[in-house]
Amino acid sequence: MSFLDFDFTTLFTLSNLIAIFLGTIVGLIIGALPGLGATMAVIFLLPFTYTMDPVSAVLLLLAAYQAAEYGGSISAITLGIPGTPAAVATAQDGIPLARKESPGKALGISLNASVIGGVVGALCLIFFTEPFANFALRLSDPEFFLLGVMGLIAVASISTKGEMTKSLISVVLGLMVGTIGMDMFTGQPRFIMGQLELMEGLGIVALLIGIFAIPEILRVVKDDLHTQFASQASNLSTKLTGKDMKRIAKPTGVGSIIGTISGLLPGLGTVAAAWFSYIAAKKISKSPETFGKGNPEGIAAPESANNASVGGALIPLFALGIPGSVGIAVVMSAFIVHGIQPGPRIFTKDPTLTYGILYGFLLTTVALYIVGRLLTPLFARVLVVPNSFLMPIVYVIAIVGGFSATSRYFDIWLSLILGLISLLFVLSRFSIAAFVMAFVLSPVIEVGLRRSLLISGGSYSIFLTRPFSLLFLIIIILMLMTPVFRKLGERRKRNKLISN
């Protein structure tokens, strides 16, 4: 049976449709709460799926996953607290656009980009599962290491002008903090200062709450508390004009492709997807100087990328039985509970069910659009609340959200301490985004390099003999050379002017 012979009446059953919409609503709300991203949404719904039929069960979880990836941008845009590391990229332009212009517009762009990203990811999953999975297998530690290095070099392009040194300091700190925890090659704990809670590294949720939420709240409190972010309710509409849509078309396309490919690679995930596409969108934009100041393109790219990565992460699951992300691993356990083993033979063993899930997954993007249009304006209203009411509530939500991710009091203290430290960094204009990116890439780079050298027996030739590794190496060299070439070009032009 091929994907065209699928009997669609088996998909459009009442229970499937209810599952998709329910999953979308729950996913959207859980995703919107700082600290509880997509993985938590899926874990929260998992126990309910045990008694459902397999297609509905899996679609419920996938719908929640898809919606939570969009929901993560809601708290980033409205509250200024990126609930997931991927939403940190969205916050770069989402916060300024929401505060200066219109929160509705910022959320509308995020929603449209998320839906398009989701559709691209789903289409790639339906049509290109096998070639993509084979491509993913060709990338391994040497390539991950080089992609990580590429990401670090790209940090330069998200740092503000004139603050390059401070950005680099942020990067070094991020790389160092990323090494906290057990070294997986020797089993030895590093920099845990006797705190067993740090054995698995600094919790990403505690870290995000600490370095984004707390300084943000303190900064608002320091200013005038008797104001509100958005004064007019008319700014809350998520409707976009044709002009807006045209403007975000290109970054959304780029984000969708980068997102799908990053989703394929279990080591990279949505975080790298969001950042890579943000940086790529800035590179191809006509007005790169407005990035970070509320450029809609800077919202569209990362948001389309993190939704496209959901479909991308499902590709290795269906083709190889290997989950592409932690959230997908939880979805996989729902498959197994229902007696389905995801993997290469799922298409031949259970075609009706498999194609039901694939097409149903495409349907989750439709549900996301409908539910998003209905619920998003409610979230946007948050910014009409006076800050004197809003900030205490945000503070409580942030702390409770951080706690519920791991149920550890330790993480609350960690958030509070990190919050105070990072406030000092924010006030002295260090780049927090560069820190987070380096923190996330740190294990990718370290493990990639060390494992590559373990496999090659210490020889660096492993980076030259693999086709994709060599390609990435050349790209890195070009990235490093571009500023040099540009300077040379400018000098030549100037010399020409002088000689004329």
């Binding site: 709460l33 509880l36 993985t39 020797t186 190889l320 197994i336 009409v384 519920s404 791991t406």
Partner: protein
């Protein structure tokens, strides 16, 4: 005020979610008999793993079935306590009141490996085992297109190419690593361990031809065996059903480190409470539903009563100690 209703709803939802995490449904059931002394309130089960993870699913399946056998209509409440590779949860158990209301769903690594590493304040006999549950038997997987077709040819290949065969495990001191090290030592093989975050990462690297083998649990391997891309060449149990593979038994080697899961109570729990818990779990363990579950995750059931379970823990603890010394991980 209408404006902040939305925000308030959000806040309430967070509270509900955090309160609900780990909630298990209390099945309505009729017990006509009078009140027993234990349990009188829900029993907390500490699970040292992330919600939704593999061992967490097992703990939830088992407790859900065992709940039906508890007197007084009482229930189990799962509490996921992550961190420190399980040290935090097990320390919490050790310090809990031994009244039967706090127990834990632990594994071999908590009682037989961690105590050797120096970070834990407890050791192999700091707890009271309630029951041994199940254990998956690890497999050494290779690609079907490898230059060796069965175990004997593989041995020949490894002996002819010392230091060349690389295999994935989940890190030094992990169960997969200890099992492979023990066999390599007995057979005098020079092979190269490469650490991965989990079994499926090792399988990915193997499929991508980045390494030559992977020691994984059957749940990670089965799909690839059936697809014909990978095959097991050695099973770390006493027997094997795979044609090209050999087992420990075939080479008359002793048992390796079994990746068992076990239920623990704090030391000093009264006999009566221990008995009630043990009976509830044993009945669940032997139910058809649970048998089906262990089969679905490709694990084997290894029931042991509290006394034999402790013996098993102590033996494994001694064996792991020897292996870790050989590896140079401890003095």
């Amino acid at each position: 005020m209408k404006k902040i209703t939305g925000v308030l709803m959000l806040a309430i939802l967070v509270l509900i979610i955090s309160a609900c995490s780990g909630k298990t449904e209390n099945n309505s059931k009729d017990t006509g008999s009078g009140e027993a002394d234990f349990p009188k309130k829900p029993i907390t089960v500490l699970v040292p793993y992330a919600p939704g993870s593999f061992p967490d699913n097992s703990a939830r399946s088992l407790t859900q079935l065992a709940e039906k056998n508890l007197p007084n209509n009482q229930s189990f409440k799962i509490e996921n306590v992550e961190g420190g590779g399980g040290i935090i949860a097990m320390t919490q158990l050790m310090n809990a009141k031994p009244d039967g209301y706090t127990i834990a769903y632990g594994s071999v690594s908590h009682v037989s490996v961690l105590p050797h590493m120096g970070d834990a304040t407890f050791t192999h006999d700091s707890f009271q085992p309630i029951m041994k549950d199940f254990a998956p038997i690890p497999l050494l997987m290779v690609r079907t297109d490898a230059p060796y077709n069965n175990f004997d040819e593989w041995i020949e290949y490894v002996k002819a190419n010392p230091g060349k065969f690389s295999y994935a495990t989940t890190g030094p001191g992990s169960i997969s690593n200890l099992n492979m090290v023990a066999v390599a030592k007995e057979l005098e093989l020079d092979v190269k361990n490469i650490s991965y975050e989990g079994g499926s990462q090792g399988i990915t690297a193997l499929l991508g031809k980045n390494i030559d083998g992977a020691v994984v649990m059957p749940s990670d391997a089965l799909e690839h065996i059936e697809a014909g891309t990978l095959k097991p060449i050695f099973e770390f149990g006493q027997e094997t059903e795979y044609e090209d593979a050999k087992s420990l038994g075939d080479l008359s080697l002793p048992d390796g480190v079994q990746a068992f899961s076990m239920l623990f109570a704090p030391k000093g729990i009264p006999e009566a409470e221990l008995g009630i818990l043990h009976d509830a779990f044993k009945k669940a363990h032997e139910s058809d539903e649970y048998k089906k579950y262990t089969e679905s995750i490709n694990a084997k059931q290894f029931y042991l009563n509290p006394e034999d379970a402790q013996k098993n823990v102590t033996e494994t603890y001694d064996l792991v100690g020897e292996l870790l010394k050989d590896l140079g991980l401890i003095d």
